[in-house]
Every structure is written in structure tokens, then in C-alpha cells.
């Protein structure tokens, strides 16, 4: 009986492990990835951190967008800005615990001054911030501050063909 329980727990752990996503580390030049390719995919990119309360409050809106447009060319990207030392101790457990489905990336640069302007020259660097891009239609929108699910939907819908 004990054996079966152990086996059951083991399988559960395995299932859980396979669900947690891998979190790639980004460098400044990697940010071009979403702006260079001439695609009609709509990238909804959010800059956040686990300790940023307004970021956490709006996380669910991005997850809802990710789910709602799962069969459309919409990709939600969550670029995390926690400290490097928190990657293992805070970010990974957070993503696993909240079971985040959107793609999470980690901004692995120590000097934000080197990359903030690459995103948007009007951005002062405050988070949360959201960047929506559709290269094929030359659409680019940047929002410093929180954004609601309705507002996101309002921006995305007209871009979908």
C-alpha cells in the first residue's frame, strides 16, 4: 500500500515538474527579436517583477488574454525584472506556484540604461509597462503603468485579421 502511495506521489511530482516552464534569460540585443521579424503575430509584451504589486494585480489580465487568443496569432510575453539573485529563489517558484501559462522571460542585464530606450524612448523605466507590436501592420504601442484586460482587448481586436 505504502509503495502505491509513494508511486502516486512520485507521479504527481513529475506532472507538476513538467508543467513549470523554463524561463529563458534575455540580453539587450534579444529585445530585437520581437521588432525585427516581419510577422503578423501580435506580441503583447509586459515588463514586470514579482515584488511589484500593480504588476501582480494585472498579471491575470495577461493570462486571460493569452487564453482568449490561444488560437489566434497573439503571443503574450512576460519579461521579468527581478534581481538576478532572485531568479532561482523567487521567480521560478512564483511562476510555478501561479502556474503561469504565458511565456516568461528574465531580463538578465545589470544596467537598464542600456536597454530601456530600445523598447521605447519615452519610457522612463517605471514598471509595470506594456509594449504591443504587430510588425506587418507597423503597429507599435507602449503603455507606462497598469493596463486593464478590456483595454488590452480593445487594442488587440482590431489587429486580428
Amino acid at each position: 500500500m505504502n509503495r502505491i502511495i509513494y508511486l502516486f506521489v512520485f507521479i504527481l511530482c513529475q506532472l507538476n515538474l513538467s508543467k513549470a516552464q523554463n524561463i529563458p534569460r534575455l540580453k539587450t540585443n534579444d529585445l530585437q527579436y520581437w521588432t525585427l521579424q516581419n510577422s503578423d503575430t501580435i506580441f503583447v509584451i509586459n515588463f514586470w517583477a514579482t515584488w511589484c504589486k500593480p504588476c501582480i494585480s494585472e498579471l491575470n489580465s495577461f493570462e486571460k488574454i493569452n487564453k482568449l487568443y490561444a488560437d489566434k496569432k497573439v503571443k503574450v510575453i512576460l519579461i521579468n525584472n527581478d534581481f538576478k539573485k532572485q531568479y532561482e529563489t523567487r521567480l521560478k517558484p512564483f511562476v510555478k506556484e501561479k502556474n503561469i501559462k504565458s511565456s516568461v522571460f528574465f531580463m538578465d542585464e545589470s544596467n537598464p540604461n542600456s536597454w530601456i530606450d530600445r523598447v521605447n524612448t519615452d519610457w522612463g523605466g517605471a514598471i509595470p509597462a506594456t509594449w504591443i507590436i504587430q510588425k506587418s501592420s507597423n503597429y507599435e504601442k507602449f503603455i507606462e503603468g497598469s493596463v486593464s484586460f478590456e483595454k488590452l482587448k480593445e487594442m488587440i481586436d482590431p489587429l486580428i485579421k
Binding site: S110, N111, P112, N113, I116, G124, G125, A126, I127
Partner: protein
């Protein structure tokens, strides 16, 4: 028709004034306004009170933000170093204490005492100073001369997480150049920070 046009104008105006940051903020070279804000000691302070200063390091910062906390010791060192040269740090917390209770006045008093702040720590209750200056995040630095002409805006240095790995001390470079009467080469930088909690 005119009626519709006026309605349209009124609606557009209400959108503009309803925006959170109506003032785009200061640029380097502009003269900043003085303020009168309450410090953690209960007294009110203005820049005009420091009439012997050569300049000011005005830093919008707060208690709760991990970036502000990461820079706390560096801000203390900056004050210790430059107040001797006539350029004190003036720290201002602009956050709405309802949205972020950790940043309320009592917690400011506590933090400044626990961490032995050698500089004055002011509360921007109406958030008017932060809006006028164009502060967007914490920490956000404005270095100005005695006439309140802004010489540098932005980050303290190029590495928020590892102080020992810093290569460019943006703010100190700007102050040192100013003190030597030289032109400041980098006058504006950016940093990730906690967005100010507006009311």
C-alpha cells in the same frame, strides 16, 4: 454643428486634464520650482532654506520599493560625501500611502530612524512636486545647482543589484564635473524602478 464641435472639444479637454501626468516634467537645463514639504522630523523644508548650498541631489524614493532599498546605502554615502561639498541629498517620498501603506509617514519616520538617514526625508502628500518634476519611479534623481537649474536626471549608477560591480557612477560623474566647472557629459539616464503610486 457648432454644438457638436464644442462638445467634442470639451470631451477631449477632459481627457487631457484627466491624465495622471499632465506635466511632462523637467528637462536638463530647466529651472525647477522650489517646494515646501514636511520632513520626518515634523518640520517643513524648502530648498531656499539651504541658502549656502552649491546644489541639491533631489531623489524621489520610498520605503517599500526593492530598487529604492537596493540604493539606500548608496544614497546615504552620497549625502555623506557631497553634503560636505555643499550638495546635500533631499529625499522625497511621493507615493500614495493608501495604495502603499508601507510608504506612509509613520513608516518613513521608522525607516529613516532604523537606517540612520543622515539626509532629510520629505513626504510629498499632494504629489504635486513629483508631478511637476516629472518623477515617474523610485528611485529617480534630479541633480540641480544652487539656482535650481537641473544638471542631471536619471539613475544613480549603472548597476542596481551589485554595487561592487558598478562601472559608471552617472550621478557622481555629473556632480564632480559640475564642481570642477566642467560640462556634464551624460546628463540623462534611465533605470527600472517602481512606478510612483499615484492617487
Amino acid at each position: 454643428m457648432k454644438y457638436f464641435v464644442s462638445i467634442f472639444i470639451i470631451i477631449s479637454l477632459s481627457f487631457t486634464t484627466g491624465k495622471k501626468q499632465a506635466h511632462p516634467g523637467y528637462k536638463v537645463g530647466e529651472q525647477a520650482v522650489d517646494f515646501k514639504l514636511k520632513g520626518v522630523d515634523g518640520k517643513y523644508y524648502s530648498l531656499a532654506d539651504f541658502n549656502k548650498s552649491k546644489g541639491f541631489i533631489v531623489i524621489f524614493t520610498c520605503n517599500h520599493c526593492p530598487f529604492a532599498q537596493a540604493y539606500e546605502n548608496r544614497i546615504i554615502s552620497l549625502h555623506k560625501k557631497y553634503s560636505l561639498k555643499g550638495i546635500p541629498v533631499i529625499a522625497i517620498n511621493p507615493n500614495d500611502p493608501v495604495k502603499e501603506p508601507e510608504d506612509n509617514y509613520e513608516n518613513m519616520q521608522k525607516r529613516s530612524k532604523d537606517h540612520k538617514y543622515p539626509f532629510i526625508y520629505l513626504i510629498d502628500e499632494t504629489q504635486q512636486t513629483a508631478r511637476t518634476y516629472g518623477a515617474a519611479r523610485t528611485p529617480h534623481v534630479f541633480f540641480m545647482d544652487a539656482k535650481r537649474i537641473i544638471r542631471y536626471i536619471g539613475a544613480i549608477d549603472d548597476n542596481f543589484e551589485e554595487p561592487e560591480q558598478v562601472k559608471e557612477k552617472y550621478l557622481e560623474n555629473a556632480i564632480d564635473a559640475f564642481l570642477k566647472g566642467k560640462n556634464v557629459s551624460v546628463t540623462q539616464t534611465k533605470a527600472i524602478g517602481c512606478g510612483i503610486k499615484w492617487k
